[in-house]
Structures are given as structure tokens and as C-alpha cells.
Point group: C2
Chain length 200, copies 2
């Protein structure tokens, strides 16, 4: 799932340098907190001068916003591709599950920053991040609804879907990217939890 | 589950005033971040003078530590009581599930502070909080092991137990204490998710 994004979805191109800046800033913010990291430190850690850095970012809050939305945008893009490609409801849940765990595993710093520093964003941007989370949840809700239509799944209350997705999202707190189980294995194990709950 | 704690487990008495200070500070920290709240504001919000406040707390970090450990201590006390009282594995899981959701629902500010400000604690205290989480997870692990011994449950990989507990803990991000479903109902729904996964 880690890949250079040619396009942010809004038509804005993302350069490899900008991607590097986002990654470096995410690691710094995750380690020491958003308010504890200055633009100078990001400049030093990226090896870009202050002028060159400001060519790639417009403000520190802009950077925070892009970090908190990067992994959700990945999830939504991947989730929609899976929904288009997988017509079998069970296989769709399995593919969504693996893709989700792999994205979380590759974006642990971004997720830490997102959960911890969301309150540093302006209201409008906070709402935008919440909106992305809802868009992602809708992809799962449609997968479950499709399985219901096809007679494979039983109805799932929305609070249970929220809980099941929380099982994945909370993993950023205990997951070690090079731990004993890889993300795809955990994704398969969690898919069984979901399927045991939603299957008829 | 909300009740004055006569004893913190280490023999130290917790007065009603101290409990009020903890609650007020948790709400302030959750709203505006630990580093953004001064002792003066806690003094004002509690209606205690600075001198009276320092009679009940020794430092701001001491307060943060007590806030981050308060709900886990509750969970562990309740969990052990349930383990002693419920010998039926299925009913034990249901009771643990309801108690967990009720405690989370009553400690949303504390959980927000715990997840967001844990890095503000010294290493030793951070390890103590992590230790409490492990103690709590052990209560569930023993419930599942007991069900396995009694032939009711199948073996559950520890990564699945971590995932299932994450389903509960993540709820602090979407739960509204006075939302359409009360905490006990959600606890019952989540117990079904767990039982669907662990039952033979």
C-alpha cells in the first residue's frame, strides 16, 4: 500500500520531496508532540533549508492536516478499489481487513499524530478529518449491506460496525511494524472476528 | 461503577475533594490539553485556593498520573470481582463486557487524557500505566482460558484478544454518554462479538 501518491484526489500533485517532508514531520510530531516541534527542526531533519521547506509546505498546521488525512485517503482509495474488484461479500471483507491492517501498520506515526493532535486543527479541518472517517466506514457498511442483500450476512447494528472498526484502529497503540505477526496475518485474524459476527 | 474510592489500592485514602479535583482536571486536560492548562485554572475551576489545592495534589504531573490510572484501577477492581462471582464463562464475558463499556462511558475525559497525554508522564509512570493495561487484559485472558478448560471456548490467539479489547477502548472516540444506546446495551452487543469469536 505504500506508494508515492501522484495525486491527492483534489488534483494537487504530491512530489516525492513533499512526501518525505510529511513522513519526517509525522515521526517528529509522534515522538515529541505537535506543539513541541518547530519548523526549524523539520527543516533540519529533512535536510531542506527553511526557504526550500516553505516551497513544499504553506504552514505547520497545513502539514498537520496533510499528515492526519494521508492514511485515511489511502484507506478510502484502496477500499473503493476493493469494493469494485471483489463481488463476493466474504472475500471483500477479507480484502478490506488486510488492506486496513497494512495501512495502519505503515502509518503508525500518522495515526498517533491524528489521535493526539486532532484538537490542534481548526474546526473546519477537524470536521474534514471526521468526514473522511465516515466515508471510510461507509465502504464497510456497503460491504455488509451487499452481503445482506446476497443472503450471506445478517443485519449488523451500526454500533457493532463502529466497534469492529475500532478493533483495527486501536491497534496503532500496540502494533509493532516488525512484530512477530505481520499486518496481513493480523488482517486475516481480524477478518475472522468480523465474519463470525456478521455471517448468517 | 462511579463511586467514591475509599482506597487507591496502595492504602492511600482518596477524599471526595480529591476526587472532585481529579474530575475537574480531567475535563480541563481533555478540552485543552495537559500542557495548555495551568494549576491556577484548576484552582479556579475547583473553587479551591492554590494552598487548599496543593493540600490535595502534590504536582500537576501527579494529577495527570492519577487521572490516567483512575479508570484502569476501577476496571481491574471490577474485573476481579466479576471473575470471583461468575463461574459460567459465557456469563463472565457478558459481565466483563458490560462493566468495561460502563466504565469507559463514565471516564471519557480520563481516557482522552490517557491516550493523548501519556507521553507527558515520566518513563516509570508510563510503564506503570502500561502495566495496569496488561493486568486488565490478563483478567480477560483468564476468562477465555477458563472457558477453554470447561470446553465452552476454543483457543483465542492473543492478537485477537488485543483486537477485541481495542473494540471497547476505541469507543471513547465515538461514544456519547447520553447517546441513543446506553453503555450496558453496547456492552451486550460487544459481548456477542466476543462470544461469536471465542465460542466453540
Amino acid at each position: 500500500m505504500t506508494r508515492p501518491q501522484a495525486d491527492k484526489g483534489d488534483g494537487r500533485k504530491v512530489s516525492p520531496t513533499r512526501l518525505k517532508v510529511l513522513q519526517v514531520a509525522a515521526n517528529l510530531f509522534a515522538d515529541r508532540g505537535y506543539s513541541g516541534v518547530g519548523v526549524n527542526e523539520i527543516s533540519e531533519a529533512t535536510g531542506l533549508g527553511r526557504g526550500a521547506l516553505y516551497y513544499h509546505i504553506s504552514s505547520k498546521e497545513d502539514l498537520l492536516y496533510d499528515i492526519t488525512t494521508a492514511y485515511m485517503s489511502d484507506l478510502i482509495t484502496d477500499g473503493r478499489a476493493i469494493a469494485d474488484a471483489e463481488t463476493d461479500p466474504v472475500e471483500r471483507v477479507r480484502a478490506l481487513s488486510r488492506a486496513l491492517m497494512m495501512t495502519i501498520s505503515e502509518h503508525l506515526s500518522e495515526m498517533t499524530v491524528c489521535f493526539r493532535e486532532l484538537h490542534a486543527l481548526t474546526d473546519e479541518r477537524r470536521r474534514a478529518v471526521t468526514g473522511l472517517h465516515s466515508d471510510y466506514q461507509a465502504i464497510w457498511a456497503m460491504a455488509l449491506a451487499d452481503g445482506l442483500t446476497k443472503g450471506v450476512f445478517k443485519p449488523t447494528p451500526s454500533v457493532v460496525l463502529k466497534g469492529l472498526l475500532g478493533m483495527y484502529f486501536y491497534s496503532f497503540l500496540w502494533l509493532t511494524p516488525r512484530g512477530p505477526q505481520n499486518a496481513a496475518d493480523i488482517g486475516n485474524a481480524f477478518a475472522d472476528v468480523v465474519l463470525n459476527s456478521v455471517r448468517k
